[in-house]
């Protein structure tokens, strides 16, 4: 099951990230996972939040350039080689990863890896075939 990720285009200037975070905070939206890719004059903030639709609405209202993209959030074992196992699966099936970031779950021994791949559907099927748990929207909004 793919989940929605927010991507926010940010100009590289002092305080811009804080402005975005302020909007989310004021609207009681919690950030589950985050990654920031940076270039010299701009950056791309990627977020998984507790309320995706709500976040899009409030960010747009503040003229913040936000888009959504579907990503796969897969559980991997929180131990050496955990990520490698799953990456090998993708490689063997010829699936190219655009970008990746990870976070550790609050309880338990699992980590969550967020993938953006060219063919989301195909990647999902492969993971499911190997009984790898994929996070769903409801997992994100509650955990």
């Amino acid at each position: 099951m793919a989940i929605m990720q927010l991507s926010v285009f940010l100009e590289n200037r002092l305080g811009r990230l804080n402005e975005v975070l302020t909007v989310l905070s004021n609207n009681n939206i919690n950030i589950r996972a985050l990654s920031l890719a940076e270039k010299s004059s701009y950056g791309m903030l990627r977020l998984i939040v507790s309320d995706t639709a709500g976040a899009v609405e409030v960010l747009k209202k503040e003229n913040i350039a936000v888009n959504t993209a579907s990503v796969i959030a897969a559980e991997v074992s929180d131990k050496p080689g955990g990520l490698l196992d799953i990456m090998k699966l993708l490689e063997d099936n010829g699936i190219n990863v655009e970008y990746i970031y990870a976070f550790v779950e609050k309880s338990g021994d699992k980590a969550v890896v967020v993938f953006r791949v060219e063919d989301t559907q195909k990647a999902e099927n492969i993971f499911r075939g190997k009984s790898i748990r994929l996070l769903e929207e409801k997992d994100v909004s509650s955990f």
Partner: protein, 434 residues
């Protein structure tokens, strides 16, 4: 295809040059005798008006600037005594003082003739009803079209500008076939029409003659679609005569300059050198037949290119200028290269991933000019992949560089982050300390 003056409008190159030279020789003598300003300029430039004998020597004659007209406010530049002047017009400059122009009876005759040519060039004939929504008054637009219509023998409605409801009523009731006004007013009228339940695409209008302000091909398409009529460009300026200096035919491949009356040149606006055909530069016009206020090499400030190829659509042989590409006042000189914001705008309009909101920042680092174009990424198609943004940045750079011929830096900025303005947008921020 019809002409108002077939003999002149389809004259051979050699015949046109002959007429131009004859008139220019007379003009040079005339202005040196009647206008102290030129008499002085000739002696400074060591031009002997009696010996002037070739069109190629035009480049040795002095330029005339708008400021010359303003400095001689109101009548000091006139070549004839006031009792020979039959009409006065004036245009307001952005700096406040009026630019005054005068016409003798014969000047009005010339004006009527070139405007009649322009109307015929647009496909207007006797029997047409011209709704003339250019302003009547000190502005030359209204009366210029009016005189042309009288000369041609087409009916003219002198409605002047404004009063949109009445304009629409007359279009409907009088069944006007030709609309003359500024292109922005034509669009405004269409909008008003739709709002009041009037279908602008179902009128008897067949052609619009639009000018007095620069307009783009995009505006043309919109006007033609909204009104279901042809939209053609007319060029003129009061200093030269008013509307009727040049006119597009239905082929829409440049504006035919009535060059037996108005001799065009294209110059490099910085060096003043005459540019070869096809090159973009400042349009300079010498009035060949004016009596009250003849002008030598008047610098229009308008950026165009010029071709002397006969028109493949209408067969007119007179030189053609392109639509106005920009104004000298907007020009930037970057590392010696002339750049117009409109060139950058055209490039950005052709790339759907960016919005046509931009700002040009000019700086100077270590004696070298740097040009940065900040452009908003279009909201809907913003990618979350850095790679795609990089590709976009490169694409914008590549397209701008191939158009301008100089290197630029491009900065993608957030949608809606560039300040919007109600009037003229501030496109250029020049931070150079010169």
């Amino acid at each position: 295809m019809d002409y108002f003056n077939r003999e002149m409008e389809t004259a051979s190159q050699s015949m046109l040059r002959e007429v131009q030279l004859e008139r220019l020789k007379k003009l040079v003598k005339y202005v040196s005798r009647k206008m102290p300003f030129y008499e002085k300029a000739f002696s400074e430039k060591k031009v002997d008006p009696e010996k002037f004998s070739s069109l190629d020597d035009l480049k040795y004659l002095p330029f005339t600037l708008k400021s010359t007209l303003r400095d001689n406010y109101p009548f000091a530049l006139f070549a004839v005594p006031l009792e020979e002047v039959s009409e006065l017009h004036a245009s307001s400059g952005t700096t406040g003082k009026l630019t005054v122009v005068g016409y003798t009876k014969n000047d009005i005759k010339v004006w009527s003739e070139v405007m009649a040519r322009a109307l015929v060039c647009a496909g207007v004939t006797k029997g047409d009803i011209i709704q003339n929504a250019y302003g009547y008054g000190l502005f030359t637009g209204g009366l210029g079209v009016h005189y042309g219509a009288l000369e041609l023998g087409a009916a003219v409605i002198p409605i002047s500008s404004g009063g949109t409801k009445r304009q629409l009523m007359l279009i409907e009731d009088f069944k006007s076939t030709v609309l003359t006004c500024t292109p922005s007013y034509a669009l405004f009228m269409a909008e008003e029409a739709r709002e009041s339940g009037f279908n602008p695409s179902g009128t008897s209008l067949k052609v619009g003659i639009f000018g007095a302000e620069p307009w783009t091909e995009g505006m043309r398409e919109q006007i033609e679609k909204e009104w279901n009529m042809k939209a053609l460009d007319i060029y003129g300026l009061s200093e030269i005569i008013g509307p009727g200096v040049a006119m597009e035919c239905e082929g829409k491949e440049g504006l035919h300059v009535f060059a037996d009356h108005f001799l065009p040149e294209i110059i490099d606006p910085v060096t003043g050198e005459v540019l070869e055909e096809g090159k973009e530069g400042e349009l300079v016009i010498t009035t060949l037949t004016k009596e009250a206020l003849p002008l030598l090499r008047y610098r229009t400030g308008d950026i165009v290119s010029l071709t002397s190829q006969p028109c493949r659509h209408c067969g007119r042989t007179m030189p053609r200028i392109s639509k106005i590409k920009g104004r000298i006042d907007d020009m930037l000189i970057i590392r010696g290269v002339n750049i117009f914001p409109s060139q950058i705008e055209t490039v950005l309009m052709s790339i759907p991933e960016v919005a046509p909101h931009y700002q040009i920042i000019v700086t100077r680092e270590k004696h070298l000019d740097k040009l940065e174009v900040q452009v908003e990424v279009a909201e809907g198609i913003l990618s979350d992949e850095i790679k795609k943004l990089e590709d976009l940045e490169e694409k914008v750079i590549r397209e701008i560089e191939s158009t301008l011929g100089i290197s630029v830096k491009v900065k993608l900025v957030e949608p809606k982050s560039i300040e919007r303005s109600m009037g003229k947008a501030k496109r250029v921020v020049d931070q150079r300390q010169i």
